[in-house]
Amino acid sequence: MSDILASFYRLSENPDTLSLFDQLSEAFADSADYTTALIGKTDATEYHLCFIKSLCSSQKLDYLLGTNIEGDMSAQLERYYGTDLVEGNSKSCEQAICNGYAVICKRTSSTGLMLNISESRQRSIVSPITENVLQGPMNAFNESLDVNTALIRQQIRSSKLKLWETFIGTESITRVAVFSYSGAIDPDLLSKLKERLKKVQTAGVQDSGQLLRLLTTKNWMNLFPVSVSTERPDRVSADLLAGKAIIMVDGTPFALIVPTVYTDFWHSPEDKYINPYVTYFLLTLRFLAMFINLFLPAMYVALTSVNIDVNRLEISLAAAASREGVPYPVYVETLLMLIVIDFITEAGLRLPKSISSTVTMVGGVVLGQAIIQANIVSNLLVIIVAATAITNFIVIDYQMGLVQRILKYFMVMGATIAGVLGIVFCFACLIFYLSCLESFGAPYLTSLWSKKRRS
């Protein structure tokens, strides 16, 4: 306590410049939650405490300010316990106040003492929302980087787990952390990643997805996500051990795993916790769903309008019979239905859960039945569109699911122009495009299997 008092008396004064108290009052002039409190007075000067009350711990403040301000100063300061006091100038004090610190300064001093009484507002640790599993750890990251760091460290209790931090955003000054596991990660990848993070120029970062967009060059080329976004500590720790780097942004529960290859998006965290044969079966199911989602509507267009002879005669006749009375070309009815099903999906996602089920029911059953009866589309197409929508939800990664939703239109366009060959051509173009993509130096279209085996 005597050290604190000694620090008080040592606070420097510069009569030529505006005092720290005045500078801070000017800087936070229009901030209603900026508070200053007189905490002590001597003959020569007054001592003020400056802080933003919305960011500070009320409990610590209570200890600090609960006593009579006319009382003995040492008695008041005995109630503060926290990190060491640091003396700072106006700029650092201003930043410290923004971070939830309180600054004690003399009325006329040019520097102040910073007390850490910040309290972060955060959710408690809950189950993952976007990556549900039936077996495996049930905790998920929240918006606090410190909590998330603790969750990762609880998974890997080793000194080899390294953490590098930086701040991004000229205005938001957001903490960004890069986790790596020494010995497993490629040092070249890590240094390049750090360099890229240092070069990011933006006013503020709110989410890891936004940071990813800033990190990736040639954004116009990147239709596919180049990083897996996860809220699961177990997935993060497994990938760290596999030699990947993890980027976490303070204020968001989603971690970025880099580098990422195409097949990573098809693995569920649960895959490692269940029987391997079941895992292979589920993987096959997912890839099958991916192909059905991509090709089924396009195949319908190709086989009923361009390459009618390719299909079995019975199916072609059935398709023709179901289209009897439909006034539009096949591609028009297909595009119409695909757009309608995307409307329903989007409406279901954005609405509250209690209403979204109604929308799905109305959209799926009522609209589907009505649209067939109105002879706008064939009933075969309704089956195809329903199957396409279901298979889209099998995609593990949300971002990849969104890409799949776009790609099926691309395939339908190919089928409209050149039938089955158009689909194959579009698929080939898609593979060519994927083969050109790289995720933080790792080719997108290769498996990291061999690298893992070597390690």
Binding site: N307, A418, V420, A428, F432, C436
Partner: protein, 368 residues
């Protein structure tokens, strides 16, 4: 990729298998069936031996590159003018091969699946290959790995299904030959199928070890591709007989047309075959364009990559579009036999000689 590495063993295998798939399915069978009255496997075996010899000569040449690319190594050995003279036939061969492959595939599409679609529109598929070629060798290799997995499965399935309705007696004579194919220009016209190693030799740096590895992979790919090539030739013969097969433009495609099984979902297997072949063709055209673009770039270092590939695209597209008919295409293939034989057997010897001369000069220079 700024520094493309030579192919790994698996990548070489995948690319060479894709090359066989792209070249063996539609033009080659009719040439081979018409070239002999004896057993068909004998000309195939002769060409296999020829391909192995040619690739061995190439591997000996590549072993002397010491981590450099073929064109740049020869350029630094004999200078720009002699390199241009040496590589002019190679460039012509590659352009010719691209024109033939593109037009032949467009023709097959017109004849089987899209009869009313103009050839000029179908030839536009070259655009995707040109874009991939421009992207570099690594994207080509990655795409090749995916295509190899998918296309080889479909091809294998089609070949197995192709065994339905075959009559083994129609394949006779099984062992007899009088060597008549040696005097038939269509036998030599089929040389394009056996030149996969010549094309990959133009791409990527090689060392003594990687050249040996590449040759081994090529030999393995050749052995793996032989059943496929034999299937493309023999399955139509075992179904239609020799005389009818000789009159067919695309014997294997016609064979696919005849297959009907209740348990097969699709009625028209030709569509499946043509679709799978598209994967082979697009990738191999990209590979050839890349080899061509790389060679031209080394000979004209100041030219911009984008312009080189744009120029090549325009030349190949225009030539493939303005070829009047399928028969003209066959004539082109037969007329360019000489240039292909030069590329297969003479070019590696000349290249090796150039590299040896340069090495000796370098050795003498160091001694003096």
């Amino acid at each position: 990729m700024k520094n493309p590495s030579a192919f790994t063993g698996y990548e070489m295998l995948a690319i060479q298998m894709l090359f066989s798939g792209a070249a063996a399915g539609f033009i080659y069978p009719s040439f081979l069936i018409r070239s002999t009255e004896g057993a068909y496997w004998i000309p195939i075996a002769v060409w296999t031996a020829g391909a192995l010899l040619s690739s061995w000569l190439y591997s000996r040449m590549l072993a002397r590159l010491e981590g450099r690319k073929l064109v740049s190594a020869i350029r630094s050995s004999v200078g720009l003018v002699w390199t241009s003279v040496l590589f002019l036939p190679v460039i012509l061969f590659l352009i010719g091969a691209l024109i033939v492959m593109l037009r032949a595939y467009s023709e097959i599409i017109t004849m089987t699946m899209l009869p009313t679609t103009p050839i000029s529109f179908l030839n536009g598929m070259l655009l995707s290959s040109a874009a991939l070629a421009l992207a570099g060798i690594m994207p080509i290799i990655r795409a090749a790995r995916v295509f190899f997995l998918m296309a080889s499965l479909f091809t294998l399935a089609l070949l197995i299904i192709g065994f339905s309705d075959v009559n083994w007696t129609l394949g006779t004579p099984w062992f007899r030959t009088n060597g008549d194919f040696l005097l038939d220009n269509r036998f030599y016209a089929g040389s394009f199928l056996w030149m996969g190693f010549a094309i990959t030799s133009l791409i990527g740096p090689y060392t003594m070890q990687s050249a040996r590895g590449a040759w081994r992979s090529y030999a393995l790919a050749l052995i793996c591709a032989l059943p496929m090539i034999a299937g493309y030739v023999y399955l139509p013969v075992l179904t239609f007989g020799r005389d009818l097969s000789q009159r067919l433009t695309f014997p294997f495609v016609t064979k696919m047309d005849t297959i009907y099984h209740y348990w097969i979902i699709f009625d028209n297997l030709t569509a499946i075959f043509v679709s799978v072949t598209m994967l082979y063709v697009l990738l191999i055209m990209a590979l050839k364009l890349h080899a061509l673009g790389d060679t031209v770039k080394t000979l004209m270092p100041k030219a911009k990559n984008g312009f080189i590939y744009l120029g090549l695209f325009i030349v190949v597209y225009a030539a493939a579009t303005f070829l009047p008919s399928w028969r003209e295409l066959e004539h082109v293939i037969i007329l360019t036999v000489g240039i292909r034989l030069y590329i297969m057997f003479i070019f590696p010897l000349l290249g090796m000689a150039a590299l040896i001369v340069a090495q000796r000069r370098g050795g003498k220079g160091r001694e003096s």
